[in-house]
Each structure stands twice: as C-alpha cells, then as structure tokens.
Symmetry: C2
Subunit: 252 residues, 2 copies
C-alpha cells in the first residue's frame, strides 16, 4: 500500500497515562483512516506538558503525512495543546477574530470570561474545524489536525475533517476464525501465505472467549483480489486442521 | 513526584493501528503502575515492522526507567518482538534452554514444531517472566519487560513482574464532580488551586452521560495531604457555582 498517505495519532492526556480513562479515540480514528485509505503508522500518548507535546508534534508531523491530535483544547489551565502547536510551528498564538466573535455570540458577553477567551486563541494560520456538537475550537494547521479529547466531540470534528482530507485506496480487511485452532499448528502455513501475498498484511490473533477459544486470521490491504485469495487460503489452512473455518471475526 | 521511577508502554500491534482491536492493556498497566509508584510518561503504538520496533525500544529504554511492551511474542510470522529486542540490545537471539525444555515438556515432542520452537528463542541475557495462564514466553532484559498482547496473559505476566519491580510512592487520585458545571466557569479557580498545590496534578474533564453532563476534577500525586487539600478546594469551587459537589468519578 505504498501510495496511500501515512498518519499518526497524538493523544494528549494525563487521564490516559494515569489509568483513569480508557482511550477510545484511537480505535475510532484508526477505523476511519483505514476507510479513507490512510495508513495509520504510529500512536503516541504524552502528558499535558508543553515541552513533551511540542517535541511529539514536531517529530510526528515531520515523519507522517497527517497528524491527528486529541485532547487539551478546553478552557482550563491543563488545556495547553493550542499554544503548544503554535510553539511547534514557530508561529504566534493569537486571537482568532472569527472564533472570538462566534464564542462571544454563543456564550453571551458575560459568560465569555478570560478562561473561555483562551479558546479563541489559535496558532496563526490555523483553520478551524467545524463541528456540530460543541464550541470546542478544533483546527488544522499544516498537516496537523487538532481535535477535542471527548469522544463525541472528536467524532464530530473528524466528520468535518473527512470532507477535506485527501483520499487514498481504502484499506480493506477480511477475517476468518477457527475454534480450537492453535496458532502454532498453522504458523508455517500462514507464513507461506504471507510470502505468496506480500502486498497484504496477514495477521494471526489468538482469542479466548467464554464462547470458546481459537485463532482469528486477519488479512488487510488495498489489493482486494490478493485479499480474497489470501483469506481463502487461510480458510483452507484451518479446514486442513479438521476444524470448520468461519468467515469474519470471532463472536464477542 | 520527582523520585518515582518513570515508565513507558510500547504496544506492538498492527491490530490496534488498523482499528480492529480496542487496546485495553494501556489502562490496565497504567493503573497498576500508579499503584506501584511508577510515573507512566509515554505510550507508543507501532506496527509489526522490525525497524520500527527496534527504534522505538531504543528510544524509550534510553528515556525512561522501565519500558513495558505488549504483543508479538507468539509463534507466527508476525510475532517478531523477541528478535527485535535482541537487535535493539545488540545481543544474539538464541535458544533459551530452560524455555525450550519447558515448552517441549508442555507440548510433547510432536507438537513442538519449528514455529513453536521460535518461542524458545530469547535475547541473550533475557530472564523469563513467569505466568500462570499460558506458555507465552514473556521476558525481561535490562529495563525492558516484554509481555503478551492478549490481555489475560499480559495481566498474568504483569503480576509476575510486580513481585520484582522497584516500588515508588504510590500515585493517589481523588475526584469530585458536579453536574451542570461548565468548565469555563471554574477554570480560573482551578488554575489558582493548581498554583497553590504545584506538587499535585489538577485535571479538569467535562463529561457527557445519559445521566447528565458536567465536569469532573481529578487530582493526582504522591503527596496525600496536598491531594486532600486540593480536592477539598475543588469541591468548594463547585459549591460556589450553586451546585452540590459529589466526591468520586461521575456515574457511568
């Protein structure tokens, strides 16, 4: 899949690193990126510390075609993403008149206090990401897309981004699973399938469920013909173990 | 919390980057590390690509006191963590006799095929991590602790590690929440609390639940006295908004 754009996610959040919060934004963004044909190559979680955010933004934006950040864009003292992005890009962090006016209109002059006025400060050159559910100030600057940490707001922002992001060839996935199959028994066969279809990724994932244990084989890539051929061979491999292969992911 | 050991998590997994799998290992390890008094400073997710794994291992083990990896230690072609760790440390990847014998005993000679024999290969100098639920070959080498990706196996390995990891001062957390509280209204007060108690981290997290929306204030740190004082002040801040503050996290 060499021609698809690459992507990274940067999660800015003490709440993930402390174990307080289960991150669910990665899975959402990852799934959407696959559908858009972007290859997600890395995820990083860093604390709400300016120097750490700035360094991660600069490393990731240099390494990948797009960077998606979540978290740290609210009105409180721990919301420092926006000013860190300005520092990372070496541009002023300044009043964004359009956002200022919209916030003032939305909140009323009395509620538009100093803390909330910070939300109208953006890096120079930033373009706001419209979103239908909140006043949280997401924005894009260069190849960095800055979104809220709250999942439903992040998702609304991503929907806005989807209308402007470049499209690649969608990355498709096929799965087959077999109950009671042991990874070690089909490993050599899987390795041969991967060798025959180097243009797709063949993954093997043992699962342990109340309904039963086994192995799921997952093939992903942009070449649908190779994908179908590879998953068909994985199916035969499971059948050769005397087990009935079942298309799709194992039941939850 | 400057005297506590620092930590990073490295998740090796195409299945996370493709959006197929919801990572739950980060939250588990993060919570346990906080209890052990280790400061989790970074999480990275990288694909099953040797060069990427090696680079991440070397960057993280240089930057943090401990690195915990998950994923890629099974018998299939996409399980390359162990040999990558050997490459990262610049040591041979070789047959570990004790693991070899245990696997052969456990599986029987006939089942102990070439694919499974790979699981008995470890970086020279690695020490196996005992675990009660599987034959998956976790190990520690230097400050890097290599665990399975399957959550229940990873958790059993982490339990083994906990008996040998250094202890720091446990990182405690206190939370208070207020329904209908707006972040922007308490932002200035929270900022003042953070300034008065620089030894703890004061975080503000809006929540949106079917049972109601509001803000949770979370304070964490090793100084329990400061923690109690800070959360008490956050409580007063919410009360000053005319809202009854409730100790603990908001209801799910």
């Amino acid at each position: 899949m060499p021609s698809n754009p690459t992507a990274a996610i940067l999660i800015i959040g003490n709440e993930i690193l402390s174990g307080r919060t289960q991150d669910v934004n990665t899975k959402f963004i990852a799934g959407r990126l696959a559908a858009l044909g972007h290859r997600l190559e890395e995820v990083r979680v860093v604390p709400d510390v300016a120097e750490r955010i700035i360094r991660a933004v600069n490393e990731l934006r240099a390494a990948y075609d797009n960077v998606f950040t979540t978290g740290g864009i609210g009105p409180t003292h721990d919301d420092i993403t926006s000013e860190c992005i300005a520092a990372a890009f070496g541009v002023p962090w300044e009043k964004h008149q359009e956002s200022w006016d919209a916030l003032e209109r939305h909140l009323g002059r009395e509620q538009f206090n100093e803390a909330r006025q910070r939300m109208a400060m953006l890096p120079r050159g930033a373009v706001p990401i419209p979103n239908s559910v909140s006043i949280a100030p997401g924005f894009s600057i260069g190849n960095v897309h800055v979104m809220a940490g709250v999942p439903r707001i992040m998702q609304a922002m991503f929907a806005g981004l989807e209308t402007v992001l470049a499209r690649g060839t969608p990355i498709a996935m096929r799965a087959v699973h077999g109950l009671r199959v042991k990874e070690g028994s089909i490993a050599a066969g899987l390795s041969a399938i991967q060798a025959r279809y180097p243009q797709v990724d063949v993954g093997s994932y043992p699962f342990y469920r109340e309904s039963g244990s086994g192995v799921a084989v997952v093939v992903k890539g942009t070449d649908v013909e190779a994908l179908e051929a590879a998953i068909g061979e994985a199916e035969s491999l499971i059948a050769a173990e005397g087990i009935t292969p079942v298309r799709g992911e194992p039941p939850v």
